[in-house]
């Protein structure tokens, strides 16, 4: 399913071929490495292999072994070394082969990387983007399906970003690589090669700002807030709802930290109803965070209880019926929307 609004207008996009999410990421990294001779990319199997999913395909040939490092299977050392390089003037892209493995480098992320700027009172900043494939729906089971963004949202000092479209994937990744702050960048592996969302990307350099949500579809009856692949569930639900005579606004927050609260509140001022959808476990997840922001700061805009549709508080099981049981779905959203507007 394609995104309705705002599409990259044909006017700004001059390239002839629609590009998928993976290609967009690949271009972002390669172009930034080209523009910034002090940039290094590192990760497991990113060089010779070109990455488990191919995001770094061709990078080694282009930039050489000094700048494209095939790391030992040591997530802690990957993050720590990236921090050291950054401390000494580099910009670093550090890939987690799957975002699930970030748990193995966790201490270096939350304690070393996240706090460096703060504890040096600004002397040091750490331009490191830790990125990797995330998300469920693909049968990856417990350890290849995680969306663990909440851990990092609760660890001050980290940007947390999650694009849903090729345009954003490229523009946000470039922005993060220039932002100067440590970032955890969540990519949806199920979107990597999804042809339906391929887009024609601008030929010229561009970035997408952090902390600016995108309204993927305008509507007046209910606001659906999401990010990552769940944006498409929301769009599909909105389509269903249209058939039922309901107009849903779909907001893709794109960056979690910083969060664009204003766009959400503006939407609520119209719709007075909100459903937040994400595929992470419910408790202490980002869906709850959005609901807290809304209810503590824009309480009066609400005519009905806010709703969150998240993964159940379970791991992600393997076989299809089990996996789908615990995850958000179009059906769950439609059902909740109908209940909410009737409230």
């Amino acid at each position: 399913m394609a995104i309705a609004e705002p599409l990259v207008s044909a006017a700004t996009a001059t390239g002839p071929v629609a590009k998928n999410y993976l290609t967009a990421l690949k271009e972002a990294i390669s172009e930034e490495m080209g523009a910034n001779p002090e940039m290094i990319s590192m990760g497991e199997d990113i060089g010779l292999l070109g990455g488990a999913f191919g995001v770094t395909d061709g990078l080694l040939d282009k930039y050489g072994r000094e700048r494209v490092i095939d790391m030992p299977i040591s997530e802690g050392a990957i993050v720590g070394a990236a921090v050291g390089m950054a401390l000494n003037g580099k910009t670093v892209m550090a890939e987690m082969q799957f975002i699930d493995f970030i748990s193995c480098g966790f201490d270096q992320i939350v304690n070393m990387m996240a706090t460096y700027h703060y504890r040096t009172a600004g002397e040091v900043n750490i331009p490191v983007v830790v990125r990797g494939p995330a998300g469920a729906y693909g049968g990856g089971a417990l350890y290849h399906s995680q969306m663990n963004e909440a851990w990092f949202c609760n660890s001050p000092g980290l940007r947390v970003v999650c694009p849903s479209t090729p345009y954003d994937a490229k523009g946000l990744l470039k922005q993060c690589l220039r932002d100067g702050n440590p970032t955890i960048f969540f990519e949806l592996k199920e979107l990597y090669r999804k042809n339906e969302i391929a887009e024609i990307l601008p030929e010229e350099d561009y970035t997408v700002p952090l902390g600016k949500a995108a309204i993927r579809q305008s509507g007046t009856d209910i606001t659906l807030v999401s990010y990552g692949q769940n944006v498409y569930h929301c769009l599909a639900a909105a389509e269903e709802l249209t058939k039922l005579g309901l107009s849903a606004e779909v907001i893709d927050i794109r960056s979690l930290v910083p969060l664009d609260e204003e766009t959400i509140f503006k939407s609520l001022a119209k719709t007075n109803r909100i459903i937040v959808v994400n595929e992470a476990p419910m408790t202490c997840g980002f869906a709850g965070e959005i609901i807290s922001r809304v209810t503590t700061k824009a309480f009066d805009l609400l005519d009905a209880p806010p709703v969150r549709i998240t993964r159940l508080d379970t791991p992600v099981p393997w076989v299809k019926p089990l996996e789908l049981f615990v995850l958000p779905s179009v059906e769950k959203i439609v059902k909740a929307a109908l209940a909410t507007v009737k409230y």
Binding site: P72, I73, A77, P317, W318, V319, P321
Partner: protein, 409 residues
Amino acid sequence: MEVRVSFAPLTELMSTLTTDQAPEMSMEANSEMLGTAHANGRNSETRKTISSEPRPSDLLSREDCLEMFRQLYLARYFDVRLIKEKKRGRLRGTLYSSHNQEAVLVGSLFGLKSSDWISPIHRDMPAFFLKDLRGKWGEAERSGMSIQEVCAQVWGKVGSPGRARDNWSHIGSKAKHIIHSTSMLAGTIPVAAGVVYADRSRGGDAVCLTFNGEGSTAQGIFHEAINFAAVHKLPVVTIVENNQWAYGTPVSQGSPVTDIADRARGFGIPGYIADGQDVFDVYDKVANAVAHARAGNGPSIVECKTFRAYGHGDHDDDRANRYRDQEEILMGRLRDPIAVCRKLLVDRGFLTGDAATAYVAEGKSATDATNDDFPPEVVDFLNQGIEFAIASPLPDAAEAGQWVFKEAE
């Protein structure tokens, strides 16, 4: 010249070598070629070494030797058959082939007691049913999983020991003394240490074999766990399957030491090197390590030199032909563990006449191998598992919400 090596039979591969590279494709060459290259480490000895002390494998009966040979076929057939099933679209998930590495599994598991524990990882699927299989092919109840359970897991059915909640190699069984791995490499080693600590506290003498790729030895937890085990002299034997590659990264980029057994030296524990293509050499080295452990002398590392036949996973077969050197692939696959074993059994007079060459599975890729290349009991054994798996239902969707916590009793 592009050759799709990983699925080509060896004979075809040979033709891609220039003359001076090409070894004789005789049994002789087959079993010797990489012998020195692969097994020249400190603690290693080739089979030809003349020593006055008998090796543990010298004491194996003819029956046991033939059983090990049969187990090699079984492990190979499991892999071959699963590749076929996968290609037919019958299986989900990634298949990490153990082709060419079977001697590591068979050789290290064969000498264990039923009470011992193991923790296999992604490339070790056959380990689940090879554990405690020795002489018990027909027994439903043994320490080790039935082929039915293993197949139900692969097919994602409710008959899996974990009711197919987690995928492929991520199974285990407390009852059968098999530790469950997460995907996080080397993550089972501390668990193994805890398991045997508990066993020892009750007067047990169980040993735990943990399996790891050479790339996984770079994980911090590998170090933490072996360090702890060494301080407490816990009977943990870490089998390192050094198949030269960690996904797309050669061992030289992941480890500063070529012999992974040298990792042991940082802990003051023994590091053994085995010829991973020779099931008896693996058996010998692991027997030493296990004896050392069981005697209360603590952990050790057994590095088995081997070579990954295919891509990292089945999704990687094509790319693996690009990032790996054609000759390297060929050399790495020349000493097929079935062929190596066959020759040794012939030499020892345990295999004679037509029986010696009745089933020639070696050197054949999954595409080329047929059921005729394997002993019928091997094919039957697996068929029973697959039949069970196919008949087993999918778990109920609503099960997905269960067993997050143990309920109060």
